[in-house]
């Protein structure tokens, strides 16, 4: 079994000099990062820095303007549609919004990727689905439609679906948002267990510093289109950077701006009806 320490150089996702813009706004401006096999790598950063965008780039849904993203040595942006889909079968992604199929119930949502990609008999699919639902504590909710779920429940169903095909890598976009303390604890454990017991590779995008630090092997902190710091949670905790200290401790004052970039407040108020 793979251990996180045996293959320190085994990089699953390799991002080099990534540049990406939305309209005229630069989201990434030269980002380098490595996601190592068997580890939980956390991506943190203020809201709107492009964490979700980064996951979409890794999944090949967006193309970088410059730079490369390699997943298992394959340049994602240059794969043919068929090869890209082959690769995606081995990547699970938990969307920030859940992205459940609204015309299918919980059970069928989790069964969906299994039915699409395998020819397993229905009885085996049932066992698999119930196993995954049990893991997120929603076996009893299998008959509900997505519209009948709370936000936190929907995300857990989406998590069960993301792991349904036992992928080699899972990307979690804010798995903890909207969870009560108990399910949060369960999810933290679940991600940790999935990763370290099955030697999956995980990318966790999250704002929850404490929970994420508890399970992450490595953390990248993004801001303003760059990686501002990276390291193990302990190393980041001792970081000299005021920026990282402010972010990790959630202090309102410091170098991290809370506001989306804007002209000075006073000026804006005095500008009257000019927009």
């Amino acid at each position: 079994m793979l251990d996180k320490n045996t293959h320190p150089d085994d990089v699953v996702v390799k991002v080099r000099d990534l540049v990406f813009s939305r309209g005229s706004r630069r989201i990434f401006n030269g980002v380098d990062l490595d996601i190592r096999r068997g580890q939980v790598t956390a991506i943190m950063g203020p809201s709107g820095t492009g964490k979700t965008t980064l996951l979409k780039l890794i999944g090949g849904q967006l193309r970088p303007e410059r730079g490369t993203i390699e997943v298992e040595g394959q340049n994602v942006a240059q794969l043919s549609r068929r090869k890209l889909f082959e690769l995606r079968k081995r990547m699970g992604m938990l969307f920030q919004s859940g992205a459940l199929l609204t015309d299918l119930n919980v059970y069928d949502n989790v069964a969906f990727p299994i039915r699409e990609h395998t020819n397993l008999p229905e009885s085996m699919i049932r066992d698999l689905v119930l196993m995954k639902l049990e893991a997120v504590g929603l076996r009893g909710a299998r008959g509900l439609m997505p519209s009948e779920l709370s936000g936190g429940m929907a995300r857990r169903v989406a998590l069960a679906r993301a792991v349904a095909l036992d992928p080699m890598m899972i990307m979690y976009d804010e798995p903890f948002t909207g969870q009560d303390p108990i399910s949060m604890g369960v999810l933290v454990q679940l991600i940790d267990r999935l990763n370290h017991a099955l030697s999956l590779t995980s990318i966790v995008v999250s704002h929850d510093v404490a929970e994420t630090s508890a399970i992450a092997d490595y953390i990248y902190v993004l801001s303003d289109g760059k990686v501002v710091d990276h390291g193990t949670p302990e190393a980041l905790g001792r970081s000299q950077s005021q920026w990282v200290q402010q972010f990790m401790q959630g202090l309102p004052d410091g170098p991290v701006p809370f506001h989306f970039s804007a002209p000075p407040y006073g000026e804006d108020l005095l500008a009257g009806g000019k927009g």
Binding site: F85, M91, F95, L101, E116
Partner: protein
């Protein structure tokens, strides 16, 4: 002045870009269709929701249109003493023109709009992206079955429209206005030519079905992923389908008269 020109230029560019996207979309849908043959259930489900559920509105509309044709036709024909030709007149109008055109327009209003809204909302709620990340191609899994179901439904609906319409004309002409029963049917039988008349109508409705399916699905797939975007796309489905169908009807009719 320059502003207006620039605006015109941008509008034209947007238009052609969209047209290009529309054709690419169609190509991907057609290329992604063969696997559907192994999963006919996906297609039959859609046949039900786009085809069967449009049946009632098409049949009712066909009946009324046939009845109006019966009335109008009788009033014109009776002046020339040729009211026995009422059946032919009603049947030809329906089979060649009104059946294909109105069935396609009604289809756009009844089923096309709901397809656009459904696909647009799936896009808005990231369900399509979600499928892509699960390595399921939404063009194959979601769009293609709906495309073929619509494509097959429109000609069938047009046929039903025409058939019900002929009965509507019969009911008014023979039942209410006293046209001879035998003459009504025998004239239809002897003067409506299968190859010339019926097939022309079928060709039209096949073309319209293709266009109606394409527009409804592309509008949904290309919708701006917001509530407003989906609302506009839904409106565009009806407007664009109606205009495309009427325009193509003229072109096809002109070609067929050759």
């Amino acid at each position: 002045m320059m502003d207006a020109l620039a605006k015109l230029g941008r509008g034209a560019l947007d238009f052609f870009e969209r047209l290009g996207r529309g054709h690419l979309f169609l190509m991907y849908v057609l290329a992604g269709s063969p696997p559907l043959l192994l999963r006919l259930r996906l297609w039959t489900q859609q046949m039900y929701s786009v085809g069967v559920l449009s049946l009632l509105i098409v049949a009712v509309a066909g009946l009324f249109v046939g009845m109006v044709l019966g009335l109008q036709g009788y009033n014109t024909l009776v002046d020339f003493g040729s009211e026995e030709s009422l059946g032919v007149m009603v049947a030809l109008s329906l089979v060649q023109e009104l059946g294909p055109v109105l069935a396609a327009v009604l289809f756009a209003a009844r089923a096309g709009t709901s397809l656009t809204a459904e696909i647009g909302l799936m896009k808005t709620t990231e369900q399509l992206s979600g499928m892509e990340m699960m390595a399921v191609d939404p063009l194959q899994r979601v769009i293609a079955p709906r495309f073929w179901a619509s494509f097959v439904s429109v000609p069938l609906l047009a046929a039903i429209f025409s058939a019900v319409g002929v009965f509507g004309g019969y009911f008014v002409g023979v039942g209410l206005l006293g046209v001879d029963d035998g003459a009504f049917w025998s004239q239809i039988q002897s003067r409506v030519d299968f190859h010339e008349d019926v097939m022309n109508g079928v060709i039209k409705s096949v073309v319209f079905g293709f266009v109606a399916a394409w527009i409804a699905l592309f509008e949904g797939y290309d919708a701006v992923p917001t509530s407003e975007g989906v609302a506009r796309a839904t409106t565009r489905t009806v407007v664009h389908t109606s205009i495309a169908v009427l325009g193509l009807d003229f072109v096809l009719t002109a070609l067929m008269f050759d």
